[in-house]
């Protein structure tokens, strides 16, 4: 039996029919993790706790407890998300031996739904990066081609789902960190509306952008996970109130007016990706959707807005990592406490974290805050207004998730601006707080996955997932690179 051959609903049926136990499923997952260890998708494998938990859940299964859809499923959690009693490092040296002291709300909700956490997924340090290479625990590798990056920052969460070692995972998305690795690894990645899913327990990167969302092998699976983690949380001040997402509203037969932003087909888009996207657009039109070309002129400066506001928020959020309160201590000689902070942070934080902290410190400093930070927040308003206006005319937008196919390991890791350019189609969504979904639609000539991005107005997850299901149906069967 392969985990990758089964949807969540199929696994649920097998569990209910007692054709497979939670322990068997967990063992299968742990074996797959071991046999794909060269992908480096996990920072911590939670073997003993996972097996103990599986035995507990099997008892419940025998007692005939009501089995909800996620019950008994082995899952991975990005290592920026807190897990009680399990090491939570954010892929940073400075937290390399930090054990989580409470569960993030999303983790608590998944546990209540009966999942088994088999491990913590590798990622770029503090979720900063677009390739999975900026991890203190080494890079993650793309299962479709191990010479290439899996995307980032939620690299391991995407890879472990693509490699079939877990059923689904949680990642976080600040500027594309779910959608871009989903596209590069040929899986579904869902970035929810800002505020729909609680961030309590997410180690914050840029708080006005960060969201938590799922990776799964199908749109239906991603929807099931979203329905388990969405909802109000009094521990997150930005959490929205009310019942804002309902699975039963998803209807793959529904026809939409779909906008194609011209800015998503600018120069720099790989021709193989453009061709695949245009083919799918034709299929959607033939299937009865109304397709119209639209323009969002402010998208031209979305990347600039993002790379001003994000470092500013990063420099503030990462100030709490003083090397004193969490994880390991700096062991070298110091003169006094200020000297300690300087040395502990200098040793414990990686290259990209340092770049963003220094840049953010500059952007927020007296004399420059108006020129950079305030100006970017004003431009953010323009981007939000452009989306608001376009969503008066169309239900959803579609385009590519990434401008290029997965690039080679090492190709961009020394050139941050080149790395940032790979976020060009994803950052605007976070700037406006909108939901978006990446769905694999085709393989390139070299057998690398291509993702299509669907963007909706705030809280339109049901529509976005309906169209995602329709795109999957038009694409047809999709297989995963198991044991390649």
């Amino acid at each position: 039996m392969l985990i990758a051959d089964h949807s969540i609903k199929q696994l649920n049926k097998l569990l209910k029919a007692k054709e497979v136990s939670v322990t068997e499923l967990t063992q299968l997952s742990l074996q797959e993790i071991e046999s794909s260890a060269d992908l480096n998708a996990f920072i911590t494998v939670n073997k003993d706790q996972a097996l103990a938990r599986a035995r507990e859940l099997d008892k419940k299964l025998l007692e005939g407890e009501n089995i909800n859809p996620l019950f008994g499923l082995p899952v991975g959690i990005k290592d920026t998300i807190m897990t009680e009693g399990i090491r939570t490092t954010a892929a940073s040296q400075i937290l390399s031996d930090y054990i989580g002291v409470y569960d993030a709300t999303t983790v608590a909700k998944l546990k209540a739904a009966g999942v088994v956490i088999v491990g913590k997924n590798n990622c770029d340090e503090f979720a900063m990066g677009g390739s999975g290479e900026y991890s203190a625990f080494g890079p993650t590798f793309n299962p479709w081609d191990k010479e290439r990056v899996p995307g980032g920052s939620s690299s391991g969460s995407a890879v472990a789902v693509a490699a079939g070692s877990i059923v689904f995972s949680l990642g976080s998305d600040t500027g594309g960190s779910i959608r871009q690795p989903a596209a590069f690894c040929g899986v579904v990645g869902l970035k929810p509306t800002y505020g729909l899913v609680s961030r309590y327990g997410l180690i914050a990167m840029a708080s006005s952008f960060d969201v938590i969302g799922p990776f799964a092998r199908t749109v239906e699976d991603a929807a099931l996970v979203l329905s388990a983690i969405a909802g109000h949380d009094r521990h997150d001040a930005t959490s929205l109130s009310g019942s804002l997402f309902a699975l039963d509203k998803i209807n793959p037969e529904k026809k939409f007016t779909i906008g194609i932003p011209v800015q998503y087909f600018s120069k720099g888009l790989a021709s193989e990706i453009e061709n695949a996207i245009r083919k799918m657009i034709d299929k959607l039109a033939n299937a009865g959707h109304k397709v119209v070309e639209v323009s969002l002129p402010s998208l031209d400066y979305a990347l600039a807005v993002y790379y001003v506001i994000v470092p500013a928020e990063v420099s503030s959020n990462l100030a709490k990592f003083d090397g004193l309160r969490y994880g390991r201590r700096f062991a070298g000689k110091v003169d006094d406490i200020i000297d300690y902070y300087i040395k502990a942070r200098g040793e414990g934080l990686g290259e990209e974290a340092k770049r963003r902290i220094l840049l953010g410190t500059f952007i927020l400093s007296a004399g420059y805050i108006d020129k950079y930070y305030i100006q970017a927040q004003k431009a953010r308003t323009k981007i939000k207004q452009d989306f608001d206006k376009i969503f008066q005319e169309v239900d959803l937008l579609i385009g590519p998730t990434t401008p290029t196919l997965p690039f080679a390991i090492g190709e961009k890791s020394n050139d941050p601006v080149q790395m940032y350019l790979s976020d060009v189609y994803t950052v605007a969504v976070n700037i406006a707080g909108l939901p978006a979904l990446s769905v694999p639609i085709a393989l390139s000539q070299n057998n690398l996955p291509i993702g299509m991005q669907i963007i909706g107005p705030a809280l339109s997850e049901d529509k976005m997932l309906s169209l995602g299901r329709a795109i999957e149906a038009l694409r047809g069967e999709w297989s995963f690179p198991i044991n390649k």
């Binding site: 004193l324 006094d336 770049r355 840049l359 004003k378 431009a379 308003t381 705030a458």
Partner: protein
């Protein structure tokens, strides 16, 4: 706009971040490249536009003013170096 080495050094002090000798020039190059990437914002006339600092699709959401106590035990337990319930730090004053 580009930053010189002294400015980078000053920022690293403000940010409490030790930068080693071989890191600093690379950081300077990278930071200046990012400043160039974001320079296009300067040419936009946004004098009439209000900034968006926060995204909130539901405004003025308030919760009941009831204290909820966090179990501090686990947090105290997780401190890497402590004496009783207090975090032990390096000495704060020189000398």
């Amino acid at each position: 706009m580009s930053l010189d080495l002294d400015q980078i050094k000053h920022l690293s002090k403000l940010a409490r971040l030790e930068i080693s000798g071989d890191e600093i020039e690379k950081l300077q190059t990278d930071i200046n490249a990012v400043l160039e990437l974001v320079a296009k914002l300067q040419s936009l006339d946004l004098s009439e536009v209000e900034p968006t600092f926060y995204l909130d699709y539901q405004q003025g959401l308030l919760r009941a003013d009831e204290p909820q106590l966090f179990d501090s035990g686990a947090i105290i337990e997780s401190m890497p170096d402590r004496k009783d319930n207090l975090l032990r730090t390096p000495k704060v004053f020189k000398g």
